[in-house]
C-alpha cells in the first residue's frame, strides 16, 4: 500500500511529517512516498527522509495517481482531487461545512475523504486529534507573538530604577488553545485573567494559577464532546458589557472563542478596542473562522488607534517544527489504529466511533451525517 505526502503550498510553514514519523510508517509496512522538498520549510532535507526508507517523488501528479493514501495538512485544490486514484483515502483538514464542492468532488472520485477537524473529542481519539495538537501550539505561539509585539515586558521587575509593572493578559475562550495561552503567559510572569462561557472551565483556569473572570450571562451549554454551544444575541451583549472594562485594563487580549461548526462569535467590538490603551495588543486566534475581534484581518497586523490587532491564521506555523511533529504523529496514530498488520490494509469500519465522526465520503457517497445536513 502506498502512502503519499505531497508538499504543502508555499505559505504553509509546517510540513506533514518529519522523518522520525515517516520511519514509523515504513515500519508499519507502508510504501512511503514524499514529494521533493517536503521538509524544506522546517530545514529538513530530502536525504533525511530517504534515509528512513521513504521514496522521494519529483512528480506530484504521478504520486497522487498511484497512492492509496494521501496525507496533507491543508485542503486540496479541486483539480487535484481529480488526479486521485479511485478508492484511495485522502486525509487532511477539509473545512467540510464550508467546502461543499470539495466534498462532492471527493464523492464523485470515489475517494474516501477524512476530515481531521471532525475527529471526535473522545478520550480514545485524543492521539489523532490534530485540532487539539495544533491549537495547543497555537496558544503558545499567540503569547510569544504578543510578547514580541507589545512594547512592555510581561513579568514584573522591581529594579533599582523603579518597578516595571507586569503586563495584564486577558484570555477569552479557554479551550485547548486558551489554556496553553494562559499557561504560557503565566510562565512569562504576566497577570492573567480568563473568561469562557462554559462554567467547567473555571476550575481548569485556576488549576493553572490564573484568575477566572465571572460574567453573568445566564445559562450556557456544552455539547457532549465539550464544545461550546452558540450564545443568544442577548447573552453576547451581556458578555461584551462585562468584558469591556477588563479589556480596557489589559495590555494583551487573546481571543480563542470558537463554536463548533459555526462562524466564531464576535466578542470584541470596535468600541472595546477603542477603549484599550494605545500600545496594547490583541491576538485574534479565531480569525480564520471569522474572527472574535471586530476589524481583525487574516494574516495582517491591523493598527487601530494605537492598538495592534494580530490576525495570524497560521499560528502553529510559528512553531512549525513541533507542529509538524505532532501533526504527523496524529496521522500516524490514526492510520496505525485501523491498520491491519497482516493484510496490510486499512480496516475501514464505519461503525467505529472515530471513523464515523471524521470520514466524510466513502464509496462515492457523502457518509457523514453532520456534513450531509449542512449541504
Amino acid at each position: 500500500m502506498q502512502i503519499f505526502f505531497p508538499k504543502e503550498e508555499d505559505q504553509e510553514i509546517r510540513t506533514t511529517i518529519l522523518p522520525e514519523v515517516a520511519k514509523k510508517f515504513v515500519d508499519l509496512g507502508l510504501e512511503v512516498v514524499i514529494e521533493e522538498g517536503l521538509g524544506s520549510s522546517v530545514f529538513i532535507e530530502d536525504d533525511l527522509y530517504s534515509e528512513v526508507g521513504a521514496i522521494i517523488s519529483d512528480s506530484r501528479d504521478t504520486a497522487f495517481n498511484s497512492a492509496d493514501i494521501v496525507c496533507r495538512i491543508n485542503k486540496p485544490y479541486k483539480e487535484e482531487i481529480a488526479n486521485l486514484k479511485k478508492k484511495s483515502i485522502h486525509i487532511s483538514f477539509l473545512d467540510p461545512f464550508n467546502e461543499s464542492d470539495l466534498v462532492k468532488e471527493f464523492a464523485n472520485q470515489e475517494v474516501s475523504a477524512i476530515s481531521m477537524e471532525l475527529v471526535p473529542r473522545i478520550t480514545r481519539a485524543q492521539k489523532m486529534d490534530a485540532l487539539s495538537s495544533q491549537a495547543n501550539l497555537a496558544g503558545y505561539a499567540a503569547v510569544v507573538e504578543a510578547s514580541r509585539t507589545i512594547n512592555k515586558s510581561f513579568p514584573m521587575m522591581m529594579t533599582a530604577a523603579g518597578t516595571i509593572s507586569p503586563s495584564r493578559v486577558f484570555v477569552i475562550g479557554v479551550g485547548v488553545a486558551g489554556l496553553q495561552a494562559i499557561a504560557t503567559a503565566k510562565r512569562l510572569g504576566a497577570r492573567v485573567e480568563a473568561f469562557d462561557t462554559r462554567p467547567v472551565v473555571e476550575e481548569q483556569v485556576k488549576s493553572l494559577g490564573a484568575k477566572f473572570v465571572k460574567i453573568d450571562i445566564g445559562e450556557t451549554e456544552e455539547t457532549d464532546q465539550g464544545y461550546a454551544k452558540e450564545l443568544t444575541e442577548e447573552q453576547i451583549k451581556m458578555q461584551q458589557e462585562g468584558m469591556k472594562k477588563i479589556c480596557s485594563q489589559s495590555d494583551v487580549v487573546i481571543t480563542t472563542a470558537q463554536v463548533f461548526g459555526r462562524p466564531a462569535p464576535r466578542i470584541v467590538t470596535n468600541e472595546m478596542v477603542q477603549a484599550m490603551q494605545p500600545g496594547s495588543v490583541i491576538v485574534d486566534m479565531a480569525v480564520s473562522t471569522g474572527g472574535n475581534v471586530e476589524g481583525s484581518k487574516a494574516d495582517e497586523y491591523v493598527f487601530e488607534n494605537g492598538v495592534t490587532i494580530i490576525g495570524m491564521s497560521n499560528l502553529p506555523g510559528e512553531v512549525a517544527k513541533d507542529a509538524s511533529q505532532v501533526y504527523g504523529a496524529n496521522l500516524f496514530n490514526m492510520i496505525e489504529e485501523y491498520w491491519d498488520l497482516e493484510n496490510k490494509v486499512l480496516n475501514f469500519d464505519l461503525t467505529d466511533d472515530v471513523l464515523k465522526g471524521c470520514v466524510i465520503t466513502h464509496e462515492g457517497k457523502v457518509v457523514n451525517e453532520l456534513v450531509k445536513d449542512r449541504m
Binding site: 478520550t123 495547543n136 496553553q180 499557561a183 493553572l208 489504529e337
Partner: protein, 461 residues
Amino acid sequence: MDISILVNLTYIAASILFIVGLKMLGSPDTARQGNLLSASGMLLAVVITLLDQNIIDYRFIAGALLAGGIVGYFAATKVQMTSMPEMVAIFNGFGGIASLLVGSAEYVVSPLNNPALMGAIYLTVLIGGLTFTGSLIAYGKLSEVISGKPFLYKGQQFVNGLLLLTILLVGVNMIFVQGMISPNETLILLISLAFILGILFVIPIGGADMPVVIALLNSFSGLAACAAGFVITNNVLIVAGALVGASGLILTNIMCKAMNRSLANVLFSGFGAVSDSDTERSEEQGEVSPISAQDAYLILEAASSVLIVPGYGMAVAQAQHAVRELGELLEANGAEVKYAIHPVAGRMPGHMNVLLAEANVSYDVLVEPEDVNPIMETVDVCMVIGANDVVNPDAKENEGSPIYGMPIIEVDNSKTVFVLKRSMASGFAGIQNPLFFKSNTRMLFGDAKETVSTLVSEFKG
C-alpha cells in the same frame, strides 16, 4: 538482708524494665530491644518469686511452668506469620484465665469478711473470666472458626442488661452481704457469668474489628493481673497490670483513630449494619482499602523506587510544590524517584509539564508511559496524585469501556499503589476505576496538597 526486701527490690527493678520496655515498644527503632527488656523483667520477677520462702512444694510449679513454657514456645514459633494476631488473642485469653485461677485459689483460702480482699477477688475473677472467653471468641473470629460477621439478635440489649445486673448482685453478695449463697456456689456462679459476659461482649463485633477488641481485652487482662496483685498484695502485679491496663486502653484508642472510628462505634455497632449500601456496592467492585498518611509514610520510607503519577487533581489542588518537595525527600532517603507523565493527564496538552516546571522538577526525571510500563513490576510504590482516567486498567482490560484502547500508565503492575484523591468520584471520562479496588491499591483520601504536605512533614519527623 531480709529476703523479702531483696524480692521487693527485684520487683522494683522488674517494674522499671517493664516501663522502659513498654516505652521502647512504641517506636520502630527500639521496639525489639524494648521487648527484650520487658522479657528480662519478667524473667527476673519469676525467678525471684521462686525464692519465696512460703512456697512449700516446687514440683507442681516447675512442672506447670515447663509445660506452659513448652506449649507457649511451640505455639509462638510454629504459627504462620499471618495467624499471629489470633495467637496473640489466645495467649491473652490464657493470661485472663490465669488471673481468674489465682483469684479463685485465694478465694478458697481467704477469710470472707474482708471486703477489700473480696472486692479484689471479685474483680480478678470477673475480668479474668471475661478476658478468657472474649479472647477465645476473638480467636475464633480471626481464624474463621466462627463466622466473622457481626452476630446480632433481637433483645440483645435486654439480655445484656440482665446479665450485668446479675453480675452486680453477685458482687454485692460476695463483698458485703455474704452468705446468701455458699462461697463455692458464689465462685462458680461468678465464673460462669464472667464467661458468658466475655462471649456476649465479643460475639456481636465484626471480624474486621477484632484487632481493636484484642487490644481492649489485653488491657483487661492487665487489669485482671492488677486486681490479682491486690488480692495477694503484690506490687509488681499491680504495677505491671496497671501499666498494661492503661497503655492498652490508649493503644485501643489509637487503633480506633487509625480506622477513623470511635471505640463506642467499634464495640456497639455491628459494622455491617451501619453502611448497608456501601457493602452492596463493594460487593460489585470489591473492597476499597484506605490508608492513613502515616502508614503510607512508613511504606514510602522503605521504598527504593517510587513513581509519581500526577493528574488533573494535582493541578486542582495546586499540589505541585508539595509533590516536588516530597520527591526530593524521597530521593534524599535513597529512593529513585520518577514522574510518569501521561500524554492526556490534566486538561490541556502539557498541563503537567507546566506545573512541574513551575515547581522546578527537572525534565530529566519525567518519563513517558511507554518507558515506564515495561519496568512497572520493579517499582515499589506508585503515587497516583489526582489522576484517574490515565491509570484506569479498564483501558486495556475492558473492551466495553469508552476508553478501551487508550494507552495508560499501568500502575496496577507495581508493588503498591497509593491513590490520592478526595473521594470515590470519577474523572473526566466519568467512569469508575477498577484500580481503586485492586488488592495492592491503597486510597489516601483527602485534598492532594494536604495529603502530600502531611507526608512531607512525616518525612521531616
